[in-house]
Structures are given as C-alpha cells and as structure tokens.
Symmetry: C2
Subunit: 240 residues, 2 copies
DNA sequence: AAGTGGTCTAGACCACCGA
DNA sequence: CGGTGGTCTAGACCACTTC
C-alpha cells in the first residue's frame, strides 16, 4: 500500500502529527514535551529527523525550545508578542504599552455584517467590547471587538478583573491560541463616537484597522475594528 | 588562540563568510554557487554543516535553492516580491499589479528633512521621482521617491525606458539589492497635489506611508512617501 | 546517466540548565 | 552531576533537473 505517487518526507509526517497533538491539547500551553530521544523512539525515526520537525514547529511559533531544559508548547504573552514587527510608535520613537479603558461589554446577536466577518450565522451570539486604549495619557485608539462565542465557548467577564490583553485571556480561559491575523488598513473620517472618544475635530482623518484573528485550527476567534488617531503616533511596520 | 569565551558554531562562521562574499559580489545576483560538497571542502566542514548555513541564508532571502540544479544568489523580481504579506487589495479581493505614470524626474539637492531620512548631508545630490500608480484604471497612489545617489552611484533615467519597479532597477543597474524596509503609516488630509492627482475631494482622508529602504549592507537606498486613496482599495497585512 | 539538492541515520561530543 | 537541546560528522540513499 505504499503511496509513492506523492512522496512525503518522514519529518513532515512527524511534524504534522505533533502539531495535531498540540492542537488537540495532548500537551497544554506551557507544558513540556518528552525529550528528543523519547519522541524519536515513539515515532520510530532518528533524533535528527525528529529534531527537524521540532525546529520547524518552533519557527512557526507552536513550540519554544530551551537548551538544557526541554521543549514546551508556546504561550502567548500579550497581543503584540505575536506581531513583533508591527506596533504603534510615537514620533519620537518611544514605545509605550497601551492601557485599556472599557466603555461597555454586551452580549448581542450578530448582525449580518458581523456574522459575515466571523463566518457565523446571523443572530448567533457574540460578545461586543467597546474600549479605548491610552498611550502616554492620551486616548489614541477607539476600538470595538466582536468575539465569536461559538469558538470560545461561554464567556463572562467580571468588570474588575477584565484582562488587558484579550489574546492572553483566550489562551488561559478558553484554551485558544491566536496564531495569525489579517489586517485591512485604510484612512477614513472619524464617526461622531470617534470624535468624542479620541478628542479630535471631525475633519481629522483617522486610521481604520479591521483585524480578523484566527486560532491554530483556522477558526475565526474575533473581529475588531480599531480607529487610531495618528496625529502623535504612527503605525510602524518592519518588512523583511 | 582559541576564543572559548564566546563560542560561535561552525555553521555561523561559514554563513557569515558566505554572506560576506554575496555582499562583496563574489557571486552576482542570479549566478550559481559551487555545489554543497565543493563549498564544504573549501570551508573544511561536513556537508551537513555547510547545508545548515545555506539553508539559513535561503530563509533570509539571500539565496534560492533548486533541487537538482543548484544554489543561486537571490534576484529581486519586483517591489512587492520582498513583502509578500503586504499589498494593496481591492475590496472585492482581486489583486491587480500597479502601473506607473511618471510626472517628473529631477536631480536636486537634499533638503535637511530629506537628508535626515536618507542619512546623508544636507545639499547632497538625490534623484526625486514623482509618479502616480494606477490600479484598475484608477489613480490610487500619489508617490514621491528620493534616491540616495551616494549609495546608488550616478543614475540617468531615460524617460522611454523608465523601470516600472525601482527595486529591480537598483539591482540590475547598481548591483544593489533592497533587503528590508520600515514603513510608518498614518491617516492625513490630502495636499492640493494629492487632490489633483488622485481625483478626490479635499476632505477625503488618505493613507500616508513613509517607507525607508535598506540594502544588504544596511545603507539607506531610498525614502519614499506614498499617499493612497483607500476608498476602493485597502492596504492588507497578513500577520503571523 | 550524471550532477544537484533533500532526506535520513547512528553516533559523538559540546553548551546549557537545574538540583 | 545528570539530563536537555545544539552542533558536527560520514555516509547512504532519494528526488529532481539536465543532458
């Protein structure tokens, strides 16, 4: 029954199976895998072949390896850790982590627009979070986040312990790790709400970023729209 | 004379030397390196060690490997090839390559602002190119590019044979390969020139992207400012 | 068929971590 | 100190390209 028509290297097969076990939760985020020799024996391959599989999973951010300690399933630290080449920067280049201020959390039924972005059915329940993000004592981002309860399972936020970084929350409370995202960036005029929250005049352009976030299973976890006042900050991308 | 205090793996040393030779032009873009065994013998290491060096340089876009053929120095195909996760996209997701229309090429002395961005002295000569880029029969980008003659050497563009993609031109005519870039993105009101070139009303916000491009030697080759009409297109970034 | 890069092995030794 | 990942080797064989 050899399938010689399309050859798949051993390390690819091993990699795929280890990824399957990570996604299935056989090893939870932060926990350590068996060592290289033990895993190699499990799969019946040499240490070198297993090593190649682990190194590729490490490059893809699924694993973290520590010399002398072992190999662990990667843990998300904050929203920006995933996207190290992309962040808000002050014109003077100082980088300040944002602070959130919640303006409202509600459980609503998805409009057709939101349902389309989250790829769920119209009327399905979602969490809607409205917040502003403050950098250097200035309201810079007016944001609205829609979370797909279909993916996260039931969520009940307590106001006093609301997480500053949602991605960390998903991981710890829902076992969901955001793995990739797509952003659409454009320049628009602010809405009345943007004008109020960001403290700008209504003719001041703002940057609108629509971000769709996917977990390791390629499910859409959240959709967020951020309006950014770029008078004192720029969105900086390092490309290579 | 062993320097045991800071251990440097063999493959790192080999990699660094091969990179030095690529940058020095020992092998020009598109030409093939000696095969793995020949190079391994040159450096006095095993094929596996040399292989690791070549694979890392391939991951960093310096080399391209073809099974059965050999290993070649990477060639830039177009401006966007470097940045596969970042491009203008129509709202209907169709992706159309842009066409350029030149509005002026001049050799000028750098203002203090331009000199600062190119990290040259005020008054140094630069090429200034004004152009608009057309997607799907619509003027979408109004752009001005400053090229550092100090880095590229002398350049004389012939209007009828102006290159559509500047990055390819740098490589073929100046032997300079753009390796990374930094973009600062913000939302602004259009200038009078933007209004005219993009055919928009003066209250329509535009995206302003300021991009600084570096070659493999970390020299700043060009600085460009692009104003984008995002009414029908969005700037899309895929993050992972 | 010859030559290239791609995979895989078995084994040795090194650098790092923590008890 | 033992255990982990990191490096390095020598050699075998496979898959792809070109002639």
């Amino acid at each position: 029954m050899d399938k010689k028509i399309s050859y798949v290297p051993l390390y690819e097969q091993v990699k795929k199976d280890i990824l399957r076990r990570i996604i299935a939760g056989d090893w939870s985020p932060g926990s350590f895998l068996p060592n290289e020799f033990a895993l190699a024996e499990q799969y019946g391959v040499s240490q070198g072949t297993l090593r190649k599989a682990l190194n590729e999973l490490t490059a893809e951010k699924y694993l973290v390896r520590y010399q002398g300690k072992g190999t662990a399933v990667a843990v998300v630290e904050d929203d920006t850790a995933l996207f190290p080449f992309f962040f808000l920067s002050r014109r003077d280049n100082k980088h300040i982590p944002p602070v959130s201020q919640i303006n409202g959390i509600a459980r609503i039924k998805a409009s057709s627009d939101i349902a389309g972005h989250l790829q769920i059915n119209e009327g399905d329940e979602v969490i809607e979070i409205k917040r502003v993000r403050i950098l250097d004592n200035e309201c810079v981002i007016n944001e609205i986040v829609y979370i797909s309860l279909k993916v996260t399972g039931d969520i009940h936020f307590e106001d006093q312990q609301f997480p500053n970084t949602l991605y960390v929350y998903y991981q710890h409370k829902c076992g969901i790790r955001i793995h990739r995202a797509v952003e659409d960036i454009e320049a628009v005029l602010p809405t009345a709400d943007d004008v109020k929250k960001l403290g700008i005049v209504k003719t001041q352009p703002v940057m609108k970023i629509s971000r769709t976030s996917f977990d390791v299973q390629e499910r859409i976890v959240e959709y967020r729209i951020s309006k950014i006042n770029t008078q004192n900050f720029v969105y900086r991308a390092s490309l290579q």
